[in-house]
Amino acid sequence: MRDEIRKIQELMEAAEYVTDAPVATSVHLAMRLRKPLLIEGHAGVGKTEVAKVMARMLGTQLIRLQCYEGLDAGTALYEWNYQKQLLHIKLHESSGRSAKEEEREIFSEEFLLRRPLLQAITQEQSPVLLVDEVDRADEEFEAFMLEVFSEWQVTIPEIGTIKATHPPYVILTSNRTRELSDALRRRCLYLWIDYPTYDKEIRIIERKVPGINHRVAGELARFMESLRRMRLAKVPGVAETLDWAHALAGLHADHLDETLVSETIGCVLKDADDIKRFRAEVQKSGVASFLHISG
């Protein structure tokens, strides 16, 4: 294994992020090849976390662009501060300056509202740009973003062209609620993060919830593994595991039993039907069945 990749793994672990070779390799290549990294996976498997850790690792700023339906170029790039411009004009009404001067002034950087994409290309040091849940944005926005990514420059008619001196590292995340375009996929490195394996989940629990009993951590990981095999409407992610672990640590639990589970299952199952289904399953075969993997 490359030293750099090992180093990334160590740095990520030091930044409280439990990682594995696929994640570290992808991050390494994304930084070296200077390509955007597209991360997909179920909700709650730690996609966003990768960007945060990357920023911490590089000692640089994290700039986040949260996507939603209807997000447009203006909101993502820049807008003029209309109110401030109008106030400014009003305040200087009697100063007798020409309209031209006035115009130059109100269309200067002072009146520019920098949105995440513009922020990302005007930094002193390459930041990490996190484009979160890109699948929620419309396809037109995807195309617009690709355009920005290919040049790393933006033209504002009143000011001129701004070109990034330090282009950002880009991480995109998607929950796959919609298929992203092939154009976007082709321009990115790709990483699929699945639910953690049993061992990885134990490591995550013990890393993030230091007060937890070792046995409970093991049982929890096993339990989650069984839960995820059930047909649930909302399959619990790692965030849910950690909530549960925190709760159990707070209760000083030293093992999982039926009462404890039924009192705290709300930490991981957040859908009434799922809980009903879970309780029926427990009635039928007991909590113990969740602690053994049947195969």
């Binding site: 490359r2 070779a21 696929p22 339906e69 209807g70 447009d72 919609r178 790709y190």
Partner: protein, 375 residues
């Protein structure tokens, strides 16, 4: 060495392409560049690195794995790598059809019969015939009339699409400054105080279609799909599923140019044997694609409600959809018949849970439907 690596990577790219992955020259270049940053002695690392470069979606991983194993045959020592890179590949890839796996998958899902009928002339029925056509039940057209009805369907849908997208309203809330309106609003004041905004980009509605393609329903499903496909620019997204015994996501297949061709094949997949399992199909939808439905989504189910499954499952799963969706519309072509009553167990279980119950048995019904596809 560098050159042979590049050549090997190009061959690897060609192999992937033959296996159906859409590999671009840029990806090949990236592959070469990636090797610079990877430990060539570590097979797993090379694998993970190249996977990040060449694979764009999880479904492609098995294909990539096979190609990788084929190409980068076992080698663990650094010296052996260059050697392994160079000759390895047999020029002819093991027999795969020319079609990519996804295409053939599409064909599987839609049945055989890939006869290409080419582009048909754009004949459109005369105006006098059109109104008669609009109110005639789809099922009563003769096969040779169907093409004309199709074209009319598309025509109507396009016209509707244009009309709908023209509708825009000013807004009191934030968005871009609407200069003209602002000036007018402040004319009497001599000052620009009261700002007017143009509404933020209109958030379009998303559609999720679940079409019954069993028995007699497939004809109606085809018309509905055709109609909504032509209307799709009005929506932010149209996700399409078909079901009879099982649920199939067909969104991707329908995105191709040969949409109509694909649609026509729908008739080939009649599933007379198993009956319809709406409840189970909805359950599968809820389980596998929970993220597709939200408050901005209209869910449309087209079925006659002849469910051979358990009505309770149907009710429970439909409720689950209803809770998340903006609106649930159930289309039942039988409703076009005045004497029809929704008495089947499935339909009876579903009725209390749906927001809108409509026909969709002819063009007029589809046109009415289009007018209601708003939130």
């Amino acid at each position: 060495m560098a050159r042979s690596l590049a050549a090997a990577m190009a061959r690897f790219g060609a192999l992937l392409r033959r296996q159906g992955l859409p590999v671009t020259p840029i990806q090949v270049t990236d592959g070469v560049r990636a090797l610079d940053h990877l430990d060539l002695a570590d097979r797993n690392e090379v694998y993970l690195g190249l996977r990040a470069v060449f694979v764009g979606r999880p479904e492609d991983v098995p294909t990539f794995d096979r190609a990788f194993d084929m190409f980068w045959r076992a080698t663990t020592e650094a010296d052996a790598v260059a050697e392994a890179l160079m000759p390895a590949l047999p020029e002819e890839a093991p027999a795969t059809e020319r079609e990519s796996p996804r295409e053939s998958l599409a064909l599987d899902a839609w049945g055989e019969d890939g006869v290409d009928e080419g582009d048909e002339p754009l004949g459109v029925p005369a105006a006098s015939e059109r109104e008669a056509m609009a109110t005639q039940d789809f099922a009563t057209f003769s096969p040779d009339q169907l093409d004309a009805v199709y074209r009319l369907t598309v025509q109507i849908a396009r016209r509707l699409a244009r009309r709908i997208s023209r509708r825009r309203r000013p807004s009191a809330r934030r968005g871009r400054l609407d200069l003209r309106r602002t000036l007018r609003a402040n004319l009497t004041r001599g000052d620009l105080i009261d700002l007017r905004f143009r509404r933020r980009k209109r958030r379009k509605v998303r559609l999720v279609l679940l079409c019954d393609v069993s028995g007699s329903m497939d004809l109606y499903s085809r018309f509905l799909l055709q109609f909504l496909f032509a209307l799709q620019s009005v929506f932010s997204r149209v996700e399409t599923f078909t079901f009879s015994v099982h649920l199939t996501r067909v969104t991707e297949y329908l995105r191709t140019r040969s949409y109509r061709e694909v649609l026509r094949r729908l008739t080939a997949v009649r599933d007379w044997s198993g009956g319809t399992r709406i409840g189970e199909s909805l359950a599968e939808f809820n389980r596998r694609w929970p993220g597709l439905v939200d408050r901005r989504t209209i869910v449309i189910i087209l079925s006659d409600g002849w469910d051979t499954g358990d009505p309770e499952t149907l009710a429970a799963e439909l409720l689950r959809i209803k809770r998340r969706a903006g609106r649930v519309i159930w289309l039942n072509p039988l409703l076009g018949n005045p004497s029809y009553e929704p008495l089947t167990r499935g339909m009876a279980a579903a009725l209390p849970l749906i927001d809108q119950f409509a026909a969709a048995h002819n063009l007029a019904a589809l046109r009415t439907l289009a007018g209601t596809l708003r939130l």
